[in-house]
Amino acid sequence: MSEKYMLETQNLGISFGGLKAVQGIDLKIRKNQLYGLIGPNGAGKTTIFNLITGVYTPTTGKFFLDGEDLTGKNQETINHKGIARTFQNIRLFNNMTVISNVMVGLHNQKEFTCNPFASMLRLPVHFESETAMRNRAKELLAIFGLEEERNNLACNLPYGKQRKLEIARALATNPKLLLLDEPAAGMNPNETEELMNTVRFIRDKFDMTILLIEHDLKFVSGLCDEVTVLNFGTSLYNGEVEKALHDPEVVKAYIGK
């Protein structure tokens, strides 16, 4: 490793029952970068997310976060180490309020530590951590313009706001790397525009590295510095966005012959 990357994957791959879903992925994402992962349906984009977040254990290769090997760790540990994600099909805690969703994200932060027995007995530490968590959660919600909605049930939010809430919740876990799985899916052009601004804002404000999956090429080209184009589980192209759009292989994969 000559240069230090925030996320680096080496020959990452997985196969299910002999079928190679993803293979030979080498991503190199630098700190503070906005990186896109694009490709047609079934190309294995979400599978890569699942590999990096520990849902699946890779069958080949390794991946490093900030130089630390996280291959084979479970989901909780990987999150603690600093990778947070959103889901393609939104996975909020539907029966909980908006603010509680974010507070679940804050659960493991050192500053809010409080053991269950302290909570059961309502020791002062319980109230301290609870108040601090609440304030922190409100700050996060404010960034996404969700403060007014904080006491609504998550399932009652409109679609666009649910997407935002998912990002807020992921941010609450204080990650180094944020994985966004189709954040603009189902949004109208105005919302998409707004989201792009928010994503940039997050990167700047939190000094965040962001890896995102997106179908909307406009979104990706307007936002990302670099992309990886996937097809059939292998990477077709790594590099700058502009060039990707003119790469013949990429065009072939997207439009067909």
Binding site: G18, T53, F93, E130, R150
Partner: protein
Amino acid sequence: MAGYFKNVKNSFKLKNYIAYIVITAFLIVSASLALTGYMNRSTQNLLTQIAYSIILAVSLNLVVGFLGELSLGHAGFMCVGAYLGCFLANYLHTIIPSRLLVLVISMIVGGLIAAVFGFIIGLPALRLKGDYLAIVTLAFGEIVRTIFKNQKIFGGALGLSTKKYGSDLFIVAFIVVLLMLVFIQNLVKSKHGRAITAIRDNEIAAKAMGINVTYYKLFVFVVSAFFAGIAGVIYGHYATPVLYSFFSYNYSIEILVMVVLGSMGSINGSIIAAALITYINFQLTTKLSGDLAALKYLIYALILITIVIYNNAPGLASVKERLSIKPLLKKVFGRFIKRTNDPAKQKDDEADWDRIPTKIEMDAILSLDIKPDTTYAPDKREEK
């Protein structure tokens, strides 16, 4: 110190404390009646039964309603507590003269041993879901009682003879109910409760948020089993002998019925349902004697079916609305209760835990879904 009380005050909400207030008031009234001799023994017995039913229902609700795992073996934990706690009590009676002290010690020990069993049965819960876990807990309950039945030291088929506490047992039992409510409500309304509900709502997302699912699942099973064990010790001090046949899966199901009728995830609901069902059962048992006894289950079954169909049938929703007393109550009491329904204007603490759902989607719990990491285990990692 002042800050602490301010915190307590800020988080104070009548609604969360209504159960404490009602039970405490009820306890004071009935205890004074009982101690002055104005309450007959069968009423005191009924109250003891209600008390341990509440403990069982609320502790099961923690597993079913909050963690979202179906457990059909709650009577098994009770059985462990009853046998081992009372076995210890029998010994303690020979060295400690105070019956209260003996009861308290045996409750704690019985609860702790049951908690160990809770840990053991929590382990499969990490791997299994839905019906599969339900049948494993049922199996656990049956295994436990079969084992106790065959132990000579616990009286074998005759059951373990215990020393009864006396009819004022209900006072102790209700104090235990109060303590349990404090512990469980506080647990549920804390970051840990949030984590537990998050696991129920979406386990995958909870894991992705870094929630230690293993820890919390085991923790919930342990806490729940602990209180079930205590309920068992109370039972053993109420009726002698402690007999294995009482703790069959039918009893586990009866506890589950209390939880479901009281709405899953609602602690107050569990309390009401437990009291109500125990009361109905008590009345049916004592009123229908002799030839009428066979009618008991018939009536009980009809009550059960009617309540469930009335509460849940989608087709009856309109009828239910028409018969509901809610609008009437609103008319009468509405002016006394100031309540903003605009969530944006509510006080923070108010909205947060109000919204623990009273009905959760059990489809997800009772489904064949199992965790992706156990189903679609990828092929073995290639060793270099």
